[in-house]
């Protein structure tokens, strides 16, 4: 019995390794080509570089406003995610701990629009953003991303229902105000679900292309993803350089994944099991 199960393990390794290599191949391809000269990459896109060079990395930093775009992406992501988590948690608080006709109506109102895709509201949004003078402003995009708080609201609501009500009732008796209970007792307890919300929102906002493309025009306000889009036009002839830009852009989100790996998998599971 032990020998057969031992053997099966090795068979799985043997079957999966070639498949894994094929799945990983695109990543190998872009990484390897960042170390090649233009001629080398054109003649030999698949193999190892004839001569390993680092000039592409130096040149990309010189020729594009990479650090600036990185800063923009970081600013937009941090502020949007923090606000979205806060607004979502705040909204769920009275719905769970002070349920009445008003909160029930508010919940149904939010539920009704849960399925509305961003695309279906795009044209009026464009006019609204123009009217409010929010086009080509980082804070304009942040304001737009606050939409994500509805998704967070439902995550938070599910989680808050598992918090014992006695906790907040005891605090009321102790003379704690409604505000105080939320900030000092409820919000700290939301840490696990906040982590899930932060991960989902970070991945989506950091990677988003449609909203920055529509609402950020100037290159000084470019996000990293938008920078890639613009560079695609400039670097069509020199694709090792374009791949270098791509690899540098991928780096932060992969680091984020590696550090948050455990939470990401848990988050997908939690979201799925609840849904």
């Amino acid at each position: 019995m032990t020998t057969t199960s031992h053997k099966r393990k090795w068979i799985l390794d043997l079957v999966m390794l070639p498949i894994g290599l094929v799945v990983f191949f695109p990543f190998y391809l872009i990484i390897i080509n960042t170390f090649k000269t233009m001629q080398d990459a054109t003649r030999n896109p698949i193999g190892l570089p004839k001569e390993w060079i680092l000039t592409n990395y130096v040149q990309v930093f010189e020729e594009t406003a990479l650090l600036r775009s990185f800063g923009n992406s970081l600013t937009i992501t941090i502020f949007s995610v923090a606000l979205v988590v806060l607004i979502g948690a705040m909204g769920a608080y009275p719905v769970v701990f002070n349920a009445n006709r008003i909160t029930k109506f508010a919940m149904l109102y939010l539920l009704a629009g849960f399925m509305i895709p961003f695309q279906a509201t795009l044209i009026p949004l464009f006019q609204l953003m123009t009217g409010l003078n929010l086009i080509d402003r980082l804070y304009g995009l942040i304001a737009l991303y606050l939409n994500g708080s509805v998704f967070v609201f439902f995550l938070m609501m599910g989680y808050m229902r598992t918090i014992p009500r006695e906790l907040s009732e005891a605090a009321v008796i102790d003379g704690c105000s409604v505000w105080g209970i939320f900030w000092r007792i409820i919000f700290p307890l939301l840490k696990p679900i906040s982590t899930t919300a932060i991960i989902f929102q970070t991945m989506w906002i950091w990677n988003d292309f449609l909203a920055p493309m529509l609402f950020l025009n100037s290159s000084s306000n470019s996000t990293l993803v938008l920078q890639i889009y613009r560079a695609k036009g400039e670097f069509t002839v020199h694709w090792p350089m374009f791949m270098t830009l791509t690899v540098i852009t991928l780096l932060p989100i992969f680091l984020f994944f590696i550090f948050m790996q455990k939470h990401i998998v848990k988050g997908i599971a939690a979201g799925a099991v609840k849904g």
Binding site: R8, K9, L12, D13, M16, G20, V23, F24, F27, L29, I30, T42, I46, I87, M90, G91, Y93, P94, F97, I102, A106, L110, G113, M115, P117, F118, Q119, A120, T121, L122, I123, P124, L125, F126, Q127, N147, S149, V150, F153, S177, V178, F182, M203, N207, D208, F209, L214, V225, I228, W239, F242, M243, T246, L250, I253, F254, F257, I268, A269, A272
Partner: protein, 293 residues
């Protein structure tokens, strides 16, 4: 008095989310509905109500018709492929083998970068000319001539669906994996004592318990698929012709680039209805099926 103050404090927590949601979701949606019945041009405030004229135009505009049919093909094609691949993948990744964690990471990796980057990376592989990496490999291994992966109508459709599938299958496998791991081992022991073989165990234990995961996964695939934009946009720009044009790209083009607000708004409204109908239909269907299994 104290009670009232407490109530007011409680309700004030709802204020930010209601403001944001009304301003950036509900108001624009109602505005879309309103604009879809007008001939608003975007620059002046003069417009007329044109009844259902914009909706009628949806059915005769070639680009719009093509975009709806491609978006539906993409959505269902990708959902089907991902589901068929993710379930066996999850079962394999649940087994105990040496490189298991490595493979979990490799299959999850493609779901991390932005769709735009994914598409650009694959753009190099699928490049139609002889220097495209895939064409080069096929040529060296099987001596096959260069294939127009992104410029032939059928191949372009298949390529975009394939790239999207590559990107998201691992993510959905992780979702199924979470459910697999929540199945108690006793169920399998009980089944094997009753004489069920591995295939029967899969059919009568694993599959029914995976059904709720499937409801969630397919729902995410369908709603996400309908909103597709980046991958076809970056790979084919919607071409050749209108063959891989997405609904989102059409809304952007007609509504913002060409300032045909009425027409694009009608498209937005129809799009919202499609998303709504498919989501409701799918969830009720699958929940009924969960009970049958």
């Amino acid at each position: 008095m104290n009670k009232l103050k407490q109530q007011l404090q409680f309700q004030s927590f709802l204020l930010p989310i209601l403001v944001v949601y009304t301003l950036f979701t509900i108001y624009p949606l109602l505005q879309s509905l309103f604009l879809s019945f007008t001939n608003f041009g975007g620059y002046s405030n003069i417009y007329d109500f044109v009844g259902f004229k914009n909706y009628e135009r949806l059915f005769v505009d070639d680009a719009i018709r093509a975009s709806i049919s491609y978006t539906l093909l993409f959505t269902f094609g990708k959902a089907l492929l991902v589901t068929v691949l993710a379930i066996p993948l999850a079962i394999i990744l649940d087994q105990n083998f040496v490189t298991r964690n490595l493979h979990r990471a490799i299959f999850f990796f493609p779901s991390i970068p932005s769709g735009l980057l994914i598409a650009y990376i694959w753009g190099f592989i699928l490049a139609p000319i002889g220097s495209g990496v895939l064409n080069k490999i096929l040529n060296q291994l099987f001596n096959v001539g260069a294939q127009p992966w992104l410029s032939d109508p059928l191949l372009a459709k298949l390529s975009t669906i394939f790239v999207a599938t590559w990107a998201i299958t691992g993510w959905h496998a992780v979702l199924y994996l979470a459910f697999l791991q929540s199945i108690p081992k006793d169920y399998y022991e009980a089944a094997s004592i009753d004489g069920a073989n591995r295939l029967q165990q899969f059919r009568y234990v694993t599959l029914p318990l995976l059904a709720p995961a499937m409801t969630v996964s397919v729902m995410l695939l369908l709603t996400g698929g309908l909103k597709v934009f980046e991958i076809p946009f970056a790979l084919t720009k919607g071409g050749p012709g209108f063959e891989t044009l997405t609904v989102t790209q059409v809304i952007v083009q007609k509504g913002i680039t060409e300032a045909q607000y009425g027409l694009a708004s009608a498209m937005s409204v129809v799009f919202f209805l499609i998303v709504l109908v498919i989501a409701i239909f799918q969830v009720t269907m699958m929940q009924r099926r969960e009970q049958d299994l």
